[in-house]
Each structure stands twice: as structure tokens, then as C-alpha cells.
């Protein structure tokens, strides 16, 4: 029997690593991966709570989060490819104007 606190603390640690990745890294691909890590950490907490209260609702919510993450990645990576085509660089520090 694992106390649910363990899962929540693991989820908090993974979320913090993801937030640190967003703050520190310059490569937008790594920033996207860090966002995926944060979504994953939240999913882990949701499924842990749903397992404690023995309900399927949490699992279904995690399923929806996975679908939304897939949609987000498809659009985000298309944006990154398009920015690379027009500027030949994907450094987030250089993306400072809206005009293509």
C-alpha cells in the first residue's frame, strides 16, 4: 500500500523540473518537451486521486488531457517549423516581433 502523498510529491517534483526547463532552456523544442512533462505530472496526480476515491472520472479526465496535449503539440510544432523557415533560427530570444 503506497500512500497517495508519495504520488503527489513525485508529481510535484516532475512538474517543477518541467517548469525549470521552460525557464532555463533556449530551444523551443525542449520548452515544448518540458510542457509535456508538466502535463504528464498533472495527469499522474489526477489518476492517483481517482484511484483513491475509486472513480473512473479522473481517468477519463486524464484521457482528455492526453488528447489536448496531442493537439497542442501538432499545432506548436507546425508553428516552430514555419518560424524556422522564415527566420532560419529557432532561438526563443530572437523571436521578438510579430511581423514575419
Amino acid at each position: 500500500m503506497v500512500p497517495v502523498n508519495y504520488y503527489i510529491i513525485l508529481s510535484a517534483i516532475l512538474f517543477t523540473i518541467g517548469a525549470l526547463g521552460v525557464l532555463v532552456r533556449r530551444n523551443p523544442l525542449i520548452i515544448f518537451m518540458s510542457i509535456e512533462l508538466m502535463l504528464n505530472a498533472a495527469n499522474l496526480a489526477i489518476v492517483a486521486f481517482s484511484s483513491v476515491i475509486k472513480s473512473y472520472s479522473g481517468q477519463i479526465f486524464a484521457f482528455f488531457v492526453i488528447a489536448v496535449a496531442a493537439a497542442e503539440v501538432a499545432v506548436g510544432l507546425a508553428l516552430i517549423v514555419q518560424i524556422f523557415k522564415s527566420r532560419h533560427s529557432i532561438n526563443v530570444d530572437e523571436m521578438n516581433n510579430l511581423k514575419g
Partner: protein
């Protein structure tokens, strides 16, 4: 210390190490592969929590589709095309301090204020059965039918958006 907690701790160690490897490795391909390892360990956690369907969805959608897309884009743009530009010197220490504050805050809130109670019982064998999946499908298609349909529209919009964004413009095609 029971076998469950031992299993949890070993898996948690692998998971956190893979996340740190994703954060720290210089090569984007290594980062992506570390993230695949992290997703796989989280899928094992889902199985331990008695959610086999979510574990399989995690493997197929995250470790399969999303990471293949990531690797494809990394290969397309060149693995290390990022020149070391000028960096802000105070950024990394500040980010480390902020992350430390975040994890301490989360641990404080979870340990002292409104701490979640209860334990995750090891799921019985019946959880990994067709019967359990059937029950979950009943809940998904009765109680959560509208969000399910909205998700399908969201995926369609994302697909159209990705195609429109990467489409060659008429002028540049020739």
C-alpha cells in the same frame, strides 16, 4: 517496507532521473529519448494505480505519436542548430531559486495543509480485465459524451491548423 513502496521508489528514481536528463542534456535528440523513458515509467505508475487504459493511451499517444513527431521536427531542423547566443547571466540562478521555492511550497501545502489522505491499494486482478474497460467505456460514453465529442472537434481543428500553417504559399511554390 513493503514490496509496493520499494517498487514505487525505484520507479520514481528512474522517472525523476529521466526528467533531469531531459532537462540537462545538450543534444535535443537525447532529451527526446530521455522523455520517452520518463513517459514509459509514468505508464507503469498508471498500471500500479489500476488504470490500464490510460497506461496504454500514454504509451501509444505520448511515447508513440507525440515523441515521433518531436524527433521528426528535431531531425528536420537539425539536431544542434542553436548557436550559443548572448545569455542573461542572472537567469539560471533565478530560475533555480524559483523552482526551489515552487517545490518547497508544493511540499508544504501537501504535507501540512489539506494533506490528501488514503492509500493506493494494489489493484486486484479484475482491474486488468475487459469488464473494467467496459465499465469505463460506459462512463465515458454516457456521463462524458459531450466532452468526448468536443475533443473530436478540437483534434479536427488542430489538424486543419497544422496543415494550414505548414502549407506552401502560392507565390513561393513556382
Amino acid at each position: 517496507m513493503t514490496i509496493d513502496i520499494l517498487l514505487f521508489l525505484i520507479l520514481a528514481l528512474v522517472s525523476v532521473s529521466a526528467a533531469l536528463g531531459m532537462l540537462l542534456s545538450r543534444n535535443a535528440v537525447y532529451s527526446a529519448l530521455f522523455l520517452v523513458l520518463n513517459f514509459a515509467t509514468v505508464a507503469v505508475f498508471y498500471i500500479l494505480l489500476g488504470a490500464p487504459f490510460i497506461a496504454m493511451a500514454q504509451i501509444t499517444v505520448y511515447a508513440g505519436a507525440i515523441m515521433v513527431l518531436f524527433l521528426f521536427v528535431i531531425m528536420l531542423l537539425g539536431a544542434d542548430s542553436l548557436a550559443p547566443g548572448k545569455v542573461l547571466p542572472w537567469q539560471k540562478p533565478l530560475a533555480a531559486v524559483l523552482a526551489f521555492v515552487l517545490v518547497v511550497e508544493a511540499a508544504y501545502l501537501l504535507a501540512f495543509r489539506g494533506a490528501p489522505t488514503g492509500a493506493v491499494i494494489r489493484p486486484e486482478a479484475s482491474v486488468n480485465s475487459v469488464e473494467s474497460l467496459r465499465e469505463m467505456g460506459m462512463v465515458l460514453f454516457n456521463q462524458y459524451l459531450l466532452p468526448f465529442e468536443v475533443t473530436s472537434i478540437l483534434l479536427l481543428v488542430a489538424m486543419v491548423g497544422a496543415i494550414v500553417l505548414t502549407k506552401q504559399e502560392k507565390g513561393g511554390q513556382k
